[in-house]
Each structure stands twice: as structure tokens, then as C-alpha cells.
Symmetry: C2
Subunit: 210 residues, 2 copies
């Protein structure tokens, strides 16, 4: 004799949203929660409670915990790329500076979102790393110019490598600076970032004069 009355005495009050609203809510929440915790420190229980939903609903929208994480990271990455797009034309260095400024301001404004992205990259599986790599590549690619000779940096294996390094430095600098801005103003930070790209490039052996 199986009494099947889910809910029991106190019938729970449901709030029914459109799929897009719910999905969006969950992703936003995920970005926030995953900025400070790692994935396995985040229980579905907590997530569901914070969102005010049942555990089951998460599985309706995202297949499982990892897929959810992936979706969260992808949202953070897309957001980053979209909001830091460089201007289509102008002087190369001006374009770079503009893009850099947008990057610094974006990370300042979306510290949590950016952290969930970065953390996922190092800690996570192949897919997560790919999402991060893609975002990183999109940012790095702005340093090179597919067209014309107006590129800031010549495109060789060595410079590709070094730009990766500069990119890592930029990320670390911006995150650390936000955590403790004493020592540099925002503009000084930007100046250091832009100048150091050129300065570092000058140390790479065997490059044609720019």
C-alpha cells in the first residue's frame, strides 16, 4: 500500500516562470555561487534552496551538474567577449587601448562572473578549458591583425606564445589590482598593460623591426 501524495500536508507554493526566465535566473545564480565555491563544494541542495526551486527542476533545464557548470561558464565567456569588443577601425594602438580599457572595466564590474570563468578554466575538464581558451583566443586575437600590415605584433609561433604570457599577466594584474587598487590608478594600470606588451615584444629574439 503505497501512499503517493507528494507534498504531504503543507502544499508548497510554486512560482511558474517561462523557461527563459528560469534558465536565466539559474545561470545568474550559478555565476554568483561558483565565483567563490568550486563545483563539488556547491551542492544541488544549496543551489535549489537559493533559487527557491526543487532539486529536480535543475535537471529539467540542465542535464546534470557538469552541464550546468558548463552553461554557467559559457554565459560568463560570451558576456565577456561581447562587452569588450574592440572598435572596428582606428589606429591599431588606439584600438588595443580601447579594448583593454573595456576589459579592465568589465572585470571590475563583473568580478564574480569573471572569477567563475577563470576558476573553471584551471580546475575543470576539457570542455571547460576549451570555453576559456576560446574566450582567451578571442581576446588575444585582437592583438594581431588578420588583415594588412597594420598589426601591432607580427604573427609568429614565438609571438603567439609571448602574447599568451602577456595575456596571463594582464589577467593576474587586473584581478590583483581590483582586489587591492593601492599603488596604481586605473589609468596607470592601463598604461602599464599597453606599454608592457610592446616592451615584452622587444625582448623576443629574431623579430623584424616594427
Amino acid at each position: 500500500m503505497t501512499t503517493s501524495t507528494p507534498g504531504g500536508t503543507t502544499s508548497t507554493q510554486r512560482t511558474r516562470l517561462t523557461p527563459e526566465q528560469r534558465r536565466s535566473q539559474l545561470l545568474d545564480l550559478g555565476v554568483r555561487l561558483l565565483a567563490t565555491r568550486s563545483l563539488d563544494e556547491l551542492s544541488i541542495d544549496l543551489l535549489a534552496e537559493e533559487a527557491g526551486i526543487s532539486r529536480g527542476l535543475l535537471y529539467h533545464y540542465f542535464g546534470n551538474k557538469h552541464d550546468f557548470h558548463e552553461a554557467v561558464v559559457r554565459r560568463a565567456a560570451d558576456d565577456l567577449i561581447a562587452q569588450t569588443a574592440p572598435p572596428v577601425d582606428g589606429e591599431p594602438m588606439v584600438r588595443l587601448t580601447t579594448s583593454l580599457t573595456a576589459y579592465v572595466d568589465y572585470v571590475s564590474a563583473n568580478y564574480e562572473g569573471y572569477l567563475s570563468l577563470v576558476k573553471a578554466a584551471a580546475g575543470g575538464n576539457e570542455t571547460l578549458r576549451e570555453i576559456y581558451e576560446e574566450a582567451r583566443e578571442a581576446l588575444n586575437g585582437r592583438v594581431f591583425r588578420p588583415d594588412a600590415q597594420s598589426e601591432i605584433v607580427p604573427d609568429t609561433p614565438a609571438t603567439r606564445l609571448v602574447v599568451r604570457g602577456w595575456s596571463a599577466m594582464t589577467e593576474e594584474l587586473v584581478l590583483s589590482w581590483i582586489a587591492d587598487p593601492s599603488g596604481l590608478t586605473r589609468d596607470e594600470l592601463l598604461e602599464v598593460l599597453a606599454s608592457s606588451l610592446l616592451a615584452i615584444m622587444a625582448t623576443v629574439p629574431g623579430l623584424p623591426e616594427s
Copy 2:
């Protein structure tokens, strides 16, 4: 009727080690296994099987899975610091170069161990990050000189920040270079790393002439 004969027919053969030996074995194994998997992809079952022990024993030595992870990361960090210690005296730049060389060679030789350290840092909880921070700090500190005026870089908030950035670049460059060494020889890489530290420092505003 509860037959309580653990082991059943085939009595298992135990190998009894001293606590230090066992701890060491488990940590080494952990470093190796966590280089390619993330913590939740590593089951205690697998770990126990690889080590040739029962699941229970792991909990005797390390309280739980996370504590084990922490111990693994701490070992990797200690190892790194010990093996890349700079010479006690000599020209500042020579000491730096020596230490840098040791760093590059260490990461080359211990790619897996270094990866478990780095992955843990970014992906993990507060404690893990602290362990990484500590190691990073120990490495960065070598750029500054607590004594005398023979320091390579003056010690100010701004330079502290920038050295962090340079350090992140170094890590990224070395890891990427190991993954794909085309483009630069080992010596060229070292040259780029050392020179770029100076080059980047030159871009920091408001520093006394060195």
C-alpha cells in the same frame, strides 16, 4: 544469522608500512593522479586500488577527500620551493637567472606535479588558494632583496603588483612552452623571461632610476 568474517575465504595480504612511508606513498600517488583528473573525477576506490590499500586507510591518514587534496597540493608546493631555491650569494641578476633556470627545469621535469598545484589553486577553495599564494609569494620574493640596495626591483606596492603579473606570465609561458616548444629554444625562453621583467618594470610610473 550474521556471518561476520571480513575477507571471507581469501584472507587478504596486508603490507604494513610505517606511517611516514605510507603517507609519502599516498601523497606521491595523489600528485600523479590529480595531475590529469580533477578531485571529483578521482574516486577513493581508484586511489585505494592504485595504492594497494583499502578505502578506509585513506581516512586514517587524511580526514577526508578534501584534506587529502590539500596535503597533496602542499607537498607539490613545498617540493617546488625547495628545488628552485636561488643561490645564497652572487650578482642579483645572476641569482635571478639561476633561480629562473631552476624553475623552468623543475616544471619541465615535474610537469604533472606542477599541474596538480596550479590546477588546485585556481579551481579550489580558500585553503588551496592560500597554499598556492604562499608558494607564489616565496618565488616572487626572490625578485626583491630584503637586504641592501642590491635588489633587482625596488619594493613598492606598484612593483609588488607588477611582479605578480610577471610571475603569472612566467607560469603561463613555461607551461605553454613545454606543451609546444616550437618557436623558442630553452635559452631564448629564459632570456625573454629575464629581460621582460626589467622591460616591464621600466613601464611602471614613478620609480626611482635603477
